[in-house]
Symmetry: C2
Subunit: 299 residues, 2 copies
């Protein structure tokens, strides 16, 4: 296992990605409470809200209030999600967020049509304008992300070659505009991945892009505290949800992979998240406790 | 990934291991219904009940009635769990079960003391009599199992060397009585394992026993439909539960590893199990459906 990373970098998406799927409204102060608690754990990159249209996702209508309400902690980058120019402008206007430019391409044509009402050519054609928008605001574009890179509920299996081609396309488009996509993310949006498929897809993308870091299978990972969330637009009744931050941190720490995170504090956040949503969340470690705590208790 | 097995062999333990932890009583006819449904899926080895003392585990007091009530399907081996001579005699008396002799050693001395009230020397000393008991009934002893092989809530980390020694001890004891333990199982009884630890422990046991099959990490695996269960004696509030049979089958089939199981029928069993216990069970695929079904739906 010498190819394991020494350290992993976790972007916490629970407050945004997690709360988005909840049916019951979450009070703004509860969201703020969770974000502030997460910032005490050692997590240094937290996506706190989503600047989407309030009619499309009513639960995120308080995006500005959440950002205004948090107590920023030094060394922690707070960010948001936006899907268009208007969303980015709202994020910029808060004047409190860490903003990174990111290109996102859909590997599933059916999911692209459904979510964006675009075909593959239109998808590519829209990227230069997006880069220009970031550049106009002085925001670097370093990340390229491929959605549904391992398969899609609406389209089925996604060919590896298509993922490799999309990464090549997005990198070429970025290069034309003077940007270098040095971090490539591959999203398993609808839980189609398995260890063998990950090996195939990540391997093929790595072979074609030996100079970039890959966000999946290497050292960067998006996760959600307590396993909050799941994509509400992905046609999966009871979507499987996200990688649970504290369970992942527990595994990494047990394997000797540094996370920089205080697992005990993170478990408290997971318990808080469950309290806030008012129903059981899938994370395991929050119930059983960390192995470090069990070791200490018998000492 | 050329070291992946072509086929995995699953022993379904949901009806026994799963129902044992449930607080509410499960009606005998419901247990029978689940076992009969599981037998329709291609699962060919099902542990249907536990012959333990009815005062210790009241929910298993109907063991004989469950065995008498099932409709045996050809090619399916039905078995039970027993922990002593009396339990084995009850299992034999049903005259319907497939019986295998198995030696079980605890790698955690604290858990051994707690569960069996024995020390390590007493544990070893008890094995020859157990083998003799099986031999008296003409039951072969082929499996050796190490409980808490990856760590223990009551004792903490378990040294790899101890696990290797226990396997050597149990094989020597069996050999002295003319039996060959050709299948070695390593149990992660309290969820202490991680991929790196599994590599270390399984690797060390394999190195020391190149002639045996290992039940963990190779091709034999115990699982419970819908993720039923968890050890009620393991001091883990909300124990993490067992490997979920249908989620594991789904992953194997997606990876091209044969299981011989009809996943759609198995998902129906998982839904039934959830209906029977009356609360959510952790399996994921039962909610989202199989990827094969999603592929077919769009076809």
């Amino acid at each position: 296992m010498s190819n394991l990373p020494k350290q992993v970098y976790i972007k916490e998406e629970g407050p945004r990605e997690g709360f988005q799927i909840e049916k019951a409204p979450i009070a703004t102060e509860q969201k703020i409470r969770l974000v502030d608690a997460l910032a005490q754990t050692g997590l240094d990159y937290i996506q706190v809200t989503s600047f989407v249209h309030p009619q499309k996702v009513p639960g995120m209508a308080d995006a500005e209030a959440v950002v205004a309400g948090i107590t920023p902690r030094e060394g922690v980058r707070y960010t948001g999600l936006w899907l268009n120019q208007r969303g980015l402008e709202r994020a910029i206007a808060t004047d409190r967020l860490y903003l990174e430019g990111k290109l996102t391409l859909y590997a599933s044509n059916a999911f692209l049509k459904r979510n964006q009402n675009r075909d593959p050519a239109q998808q590519l054609a829209a990227q230069p304008e997006l880069i220009a928008m970031y550049q106009a605001h002085g925001i670097p574009v370093r990340t390229g992300f491929v959605t549904a890179a391992f398969g899609c509920n609406f389209e089925g299996d996604v060919p590896v070659e298509r993922v490799v081609q999309l990464v090549a396309d997005m990198r070429a488009i970025a290069r034309d505009k003077g940007e270098d996509l040095s971090l490539i993310g591959l999203g398993d949006t609808m839980a189609w991945a398995n260890p063998e498929r990950i090996r195939q897809v990540v391997g093929a993308v790595q072979d074609a892009n030996p100079d970039v870091a890959l966000s999946l299978g290497v050292a960067h990972l998006d996760a959600a505290v307590a396993g909050l969330g799941g994509c509400p637009f992905a046609a999966h009744a009871g979507a499987a949800g996200n990688i649970c931050t504290e369970d992942f941190v527990s595994m990494c720490e047990e394997m000797g992979i540094a996370t920089g995170i205080d697992l005990e504090k993170l478990i408290e956040c997971a318990v808080l998240a469950e309290e806030i949503v008012g129903h059981p969340l899938p994370g395991k470690v929050k119930t059983g406790g960390s192995l470090a705590a069990l070791r200490a208790r018998r000492g």
